[in-house]
Each structure stands twice: as structure tokens, then as C-alpha cells.
């Protein structure tokens, strides 16, 4: 027995590299003799992951204040898709479709401009300007009117789904008192992030004979589909109306999701390795339950992957 041990010691002495390799393995696999988890799953390592994730999130929050427009949200939202999705929701509930009105659309566009220029995200501007001021300002005389706002969404479908799942926005979307709709999709820099704002305005004109006809609507949609208006920079911000596919320098949604999924996946894989290797080698560790950690981490990955979507509504 002693001879065998001496042989072992001599072997490791002669093979320093093998020792290093053996030790490195324990960054990923639990330690049989020390009865501990892998080094990458130690409390110190988990603390480092927490600090790193927090630091990246904080950087993403503060960077736009220092360098506006570098971080942003990718989007592919069109007025024709928003109109189609809205009217599909209405037809599912047996309601008449809303007609796209050019005056209401202009009011929606002015509202989006105002939010970018004055850097706010609200129904009422910091100066107290209300949605109705934009509608009346364009000369649209209404009996009923409403407004829905959205930002940071990727697609038209996500925008309408977002509104549809909020009771107050849904009541606008399915409002039986409305005949017409105005839509604006405008890209610019808000609070330092490049984003696409969607403004949806609803109305019933006082004179109902003034409701836009199908021909007028088709003409407006055709005009919008070929037109991409780009303004001169206003306070360093370039605003684009009806943007085609938007790809910012760094898509903050993609980066934050990828980081969370990578970390979650990495720690999850190490935990799975820990479960498998400990069973194989019969290692009993005096730690918390690896399987419980794995279960909770899987819930996080599933939520991030399948449930969470970008976008805010107001």
C-alpha cells in the first residue's frame, strides 16, 4: 500500500502538467477528495457572476446618457401591419374596421416628434400638452378621441398584442365609438436609446360624412409605403418617419437576453455536470441542493427564452 502511494506521489512529481490538468478539471467538475462543487460553482464564483451581470446592466443604463444613440432597439414595424392587426382584432369581436385617416395620422406623427424633441414618454407632455391638442391642432373636429403609445417593440404584431393585453388600451382598440384611426411609426433617440415610437390615435369626426373612404385609405397606405422621411438632426437627434427595418449599433434587447441566457446556460450546464459526476463517483458534498438550483435556473431560462418580450405600452 505504502509502495503504491509512493509510486503515485512520484508519478505526480514527474508530471507537473498532469497535476495542472487534473486541477483545471475541477474548475468544471466537483472535487472527490475535498467533497466540494467545481470552482466555477463556488460561492466566490457566483458572487463574481452577480457583480458582472449587475455591472453590465448598470453600464447599459448609464452609457446612453454619456453616448446617446449607441444602444437601441431593433424594429420592423409598419403602419399597414399595425392597421391590419388592429382591424383583425376588431373583426374577431364583430366590430367594424377603422379607416386610416391622414389628419389623425399627422397628429400622431406630431405627437411622436414632440416626444423625441422634448425627450419624454407620456400622454401629457411636461409642458402640459395633451393628445387632444395635437388632434385639434391638425383641424380634426371630433366627438370621441383616444390615444395608445408603444416603444421598444420589434414587430407590429407585438405592439398590437401588447395593447390588446392591457384592459385600458384594449378598450381603445375595440372602441365602438371610433370610426377612424391615425398611426405614426417614428424612429429617433429617446432618453439616449435609439428606439421606434408608435402612436395610435382614434377618433369619430363630428361630421360622420367626413370619415375616410376606402380609396382615400388605400392612397394614404400607398403613399406611406414608399415614403421614408428623414429630418435634419434636432438637438443632435435624427428622426425618421416610417422607417424601414431599424438596426441600431448595439441592440440592447439582444445583448441583455444573450448575456442572461449565456450565464444561465453556463451555470446550468455546470450544475448538470455536478449532478452527473457526483452520482458517477458517489461524491457526497456538504452544500445546498444542486438539483434545486438547476430547477430554478431552468425556470429562468425558459422564461427569458419563451415568455419575456421587449416593449413598453402607455
Amino acid at each position: 500500500m505504502e509502495l503504491e502511494n509512493t509510486k503515485k506521489v512520484n508519478f505526480w512529481r514527474k508530471n507537473v502538467k498532469a497535476i495542472e490538468k487534473y486541477q483545471f478539471m475541477h474548475h468544471f467538475l466537483p472535487h472527490e477528495e475535498e467533497q466540494t462543487r467545481s470552482k466555477f460553482l463556488s460561492n466566490g464564483a457566483i458572487l463574481l457572476y452577480c457583480i458582472f451581470v449587475f455591472a453590465v446592466t448598470a453600464t447599459f443604463r448609464f452609457l446612453p446618457k454619456l453616448v446617446p444613440g449607441v444602444l437601441g432597439y431593433a424594429s420592423n414595424i409598419t403602419i399597414s401591419d399595425l392597421l391590419a392587426q388592429t382591424n383583425q382584432k376588431r373583426s374577431e369581436k364583430g366590430l367594424s374596421p377603422l379607416r386610416l385617416n391622414s389628419t389623425l395620422s399627422e397628429a400622431a406623427k406630431q405627437k411622436a416628434y414632440d416626444m423625441f424633441e422634448n425627450d419624454y414618454w407620456a400622454h401629457i407632455s411636461p409642458d402640459g400638452v395633451e393628445p387632444w391638442d395635437f388632434i385639434l391642432g391638425q383641424g380634426y373636429d371630433y366627438i370621441y378621441a383616444g390615444e395608445n403609445l408603444a416603444k421598444n417593440f420589434s414587430t407590429s404584431k407585438q405592439v398590437v398584442e401588447g395593447w390588446y393585453n392591457s384592459p385600458t388600451h384594449k378598450s381603445n382598440l375595440l372602441g365602438a365609438n371610433y370610426d377612424e384611426i391615425g398611426l405614426a411609426v417614428v424612429n429617433g433617440t429617446l432618453n439616449g436609446y435609439e428606439t421606434t415610437l408608435v402612436v395610435q390615435m382614434f377618433g369619430r369626426p363630428r361630421d360622420r360624412t367626413q370619415v375616410a373612404s376606402v380609396i382615400e385609405e388605400e392612397g394614404l397606405l400607398e403613399e406611406i409605403s414608399v415614403q421614408e422621411e428623414v429630418t435634419e438632426p434636432i438637438m443632435g437627434t435624427q428622426i425618421t418617419v416610417n422607417p424601414k427595418e431599424v438596426e441600431p449599433t448595439l441592440d440592447v434587447t439582444k445583448v441583455s437576453r444573450s448575456m442572461s441566457l449565456t450565464f444561465g446556460g453556463f451555470v446550468g450546464s455546470l450544475l448538470a455536470l455536478d449532478v452527473w459526476y457526483s452520482k458517477k463517483k458517489g461524491i457526497k458534498k456538504f452544500t445546498g441542493h444542486t438539483f434545486a438550483h438547476l430547477t430554478v435556473l431552468l425556470m429562468v431560462i425558459v422564461s427569458i427564452w419563451f415568455v419575456f418580450r421587449p416593449g413598453l405600452i402607455l
Partner: protein, 86 residues
């Protein structure tokens, strides 16, 4: 792993039910980021509490194990918080 599950069946059942409840809550409130943040915080706190109570009941609670659950709870919350922030 199966021995571990059998040994702690009731605690694991509580954990699995909680995971399913939290997943359902995530789906129900998927369009409301404020609620999702609140659910994420609750989920993390629940998990830390579950771990500590579970080990306490077995008389195996040490400072290292408490730290481990606190750090895992924090990591889980931060991973969700990062995505919900943008």
C-alpha cells in the same frame, strides 16, 4: 439525484409547485414589466427562504449554505432583472 428527491419529497414538491406557479404568473403578466419585476423578486426571495428552511429543518444549515442560497437567489433575480430592464 433520485435518492435526493425521495429523501426530500415534500420540500421538492413545494419547490416544483412554486416553479410552475411562478411560470404561470410570468405568462399571465408577460405584458406588464412592473408586475414581472415584482414576481421575479418574490420568486428569488421564495427560493432563498426555501433553501434556508429546508436545511434548517434537517439541522444542516451553515453560514456557507446560507450564503450559497443568497447568492443563487441574487443571480436568478439579476438574470431576470437584466432582461426586464430593456
Amino acid at each position: 439525484m433520485i435518492d435526493d428527491l425521495k429523501e426530500n419529497l415534500i420540500e421538492y414538491l413545494v419547490l416544483f409547485v412554486a416553479v410552475i406557479v411562478f411560470l404561470v404568473l410570468f405568462i399571465l403578466f408577460r405584458f406588464d414589466k412592473t408586475s414581472l419585476l415584482a414576481i421575479s423578486s418574490l420568486g428569488s426571495i421564495f427560493y432563498i427562504g426555501w433553501g434556508i428552511i429546508h436545511h434548517m429543518l434537517r439541522g444542516r444549515l451553515t453560514r456557507l449554505i446560507t450564503t450559497e442560497y443568497l447568492l443563487f437567489g441574487l443571480l436568478v433575480f439579476l438574470l431576470l432583472f437584466t432582461v426586464l430592464n430593456f
